[in-house]
């Protein structure tokens, strides 16, 4: 390298300062982000159903760290810092590793997955997520034979999330999957939506998307992943075990104790529609649960 190619210190220091100051701005902006993301390829797993408007998906969020009203996260997550960000992957693996978010973004070619997303509360959306299969990341760390489950943990920073203390659920938010669920090609790590960087209120910088499970399984703003031998605790199950099970597969036949799960309101539609078993992904995932009593393992 020629000396002339080296960036003078004054320039890069200023540049870094600008970046440091600018990144939260970019993040805040991302309510209706137009921060571009690497182009994503289409996927055969995508639905052809009508996509829900970005405005709705970015303004109607359950993200209790930023407040319990659905309009809270879009407001309160504006200045959430998503850089620097690392994800620690550890536990029953041969190669534990701390991934930088930028390394995550380059782990695999990005795909667009247009999925149905069904909330346990009885509403649903269709979202073009951008990401790649979770199994790509898991294979990188080489799971050991005693890795039976994957435990996830969200970032919980009370300084940035002062509303979290009123969430009424234990934080940091934790979730879990059985190994075969986590390895399923439909399970994705998501870094964007609508072709843009994931808005903070939708779980930036990286979240899980499990299209055949109720929305709360798709943990947001992941900070830690741990492969474990026993079924890990999950936040809503800790908060109310009778109402929220570990599996939480979308199932119109098994009601929530307080309301029916037989139908749902697709945002933007007037009438309700029937909820589909495994949220319409029965063909792909039903075999994971063959022989299991889904009323018992709700």
């Amino acid at each position: 390298m020629r000396p002339s190619e080296i960036t003078p210190k004054a320039v890069y220091v200023t540049r870094r300062r600008l970046l440091a100051a600018g990144l939260p701005l970019v993040a805040g902006w991302s309510a209706f982000a137009d921060t571009p993301l690497a182009p994503a390829s289409k996927s055969p797993y995508s639905t052809t159903e009508k996509v829900t408007p970005l405005k709705d998906v970015a303004s109607y969020n359950n993200f209790y760290e930023f407040g319990t009203d659905k309009s809270d996260p879009a407001r309160n997550a504006k200045n959430f810092r998503t850089r620097p960000w690392t994800i620690t992957v550890e536990g029953a693996v041969a190669k534990p590793r701390v991934f930088d978010i930028d390394a995550i973004l380059k782990l695999a070619p990005l795909e667009e997955r247009i999925y149905r997303h069904r909330c346990v509360e009885g509403w649903s959306i269709v979202v073009p997520w951008t990401g790649f299969p979770l199994n790509v990341l898991l294979k990188q760390v080489e799971p050991l034979s005693n890795a039976k489950y994957v435990a996830f943990q969200s970032l919980y920073d009370p300084k940035q999330m002062p509303q979290g203390k009123y969430a009424g659920i234990p934080l940091p938010y934790v979730e879990g999957l059985r190994m075969d669920e986590a390895m399923h090609p439909l399970a994705i790590l998501c870094v964007g939506m609508y072709g843009e960087v994931l808005p903070n209120q939708d779980g930036a910088p990286v979240r899980l998307v499990m299209p055949w499970k109720y929305g709360f399984k798709s943990i947001k703003s992941i900070a830690k992943i741990r492969l474990v031998e026993n079924q890990p605790p999950t936040t809503w199950n800790l908060a109310n075990a009778r109402e929220y099970g570990f599996y939480s597969n979308v199932n119109p036949e098994v009601d929530h104790p307080r309301w029916s799960q037989a139908s749902e309101r697709r945002l933007g539609e007037f009438s309700k529609r029937k909820t589909l078993k495994f949220n319409g992904y029965e063909k792909e995932v039903a075999s994971l649960y063959s022989g299991m009593d889904l009323r018992k393992y709700y």
Partner: protein, 205 residues
């Protein structure tokens, strides 16, 4: 006084005007039906708080004339309760009677809300001077004690509905408890003391 009554009447219509104007502007959010359901429910319980605050305030502030607003406020609470109920049976259940019956019997939070609403019906019907005369003050007052049930049912409905953040239902429970306590204190006092001039005003009202 007349002007004050008109003012309170208009004030009570503002929430409805607000909902309608937001609907007209397409500004009810991603889930408009949920927004309407929550707004009408919120205003039912808020105006119920106002209604039940009248009697304690009359005594604490020594302003017996506040009684003039009580019936109107009670009817507005019922009015927003009707809108809330209508939103449920129409926009949530699409008048599917079978579904509604199942819901009311199976879902405790619906049962509580439904019971609270039904209890308001006889109160709204008998809110006229004619009905007070027909029933007689004593019986009328006894019937209208049902409003305590409605308030409690409303709080329980709200409490059972929220997923984890119980701050608001607990707040309403505390407000109602405070209002009921003031009433209880006055009731005990008037029982243990011979009737005073103030008590006579109360009875006339």
């Amino acid at each position: 006084m007349k002007l004050a009554k008109v003012a309170v009447f208009v004030l009570c219509l503002i929430p409805l005007a607000w909902i309608l104007s937001r609907a007209y502007r397409g500004d009810l959010g991603a889930n408009p039906i949920e927004t309407i359901t929550h707004a009408t429910g919120d205003w039912t319980i808020r105006i119920l708080v106002a209604t039940l605050a009248i009697t304690p305030l009359r005594r604490l502030l020594n302003r017996p004339q506040l009684i003039r607003f009580r019936r109107m406020l009670g009817l507005f609470a019922f009015f927003y309760g009707c809108l809330h109920f209508l939103t449920y049976i129409w926009l949530d259940k699409f008048f599917d009677l079978h579904e509604i019956v199942k819901d009311v019997s199976k879902r405790p939070f619906i049962t509580a809300g439904f019971a609270g609403f039904i209890a308001m019906l006889p109160l709204a019907v008998t809110s006229t001077a004619g009905w007070i005369r027909r029933l007689g003050g004593k019986r009328w007052r006894r019937l209208h004690q049902l409003v305590y049930f409605s308030a409690c049912a409303g709080v329980v409905h709200y409490y059972w509905l929220v997923k984890s953040d119980i701050r608001l239902p607990v707040l309403y429970a505390l407000i109602f408890a405070a209002l009921f306590s003031v009433r209880a204190v006055y009731a005990l006092r008037s029982r243990s003391m011979p009737p005073r001039a103030g008590a006579a005003v109360r009875n006339r009202a």
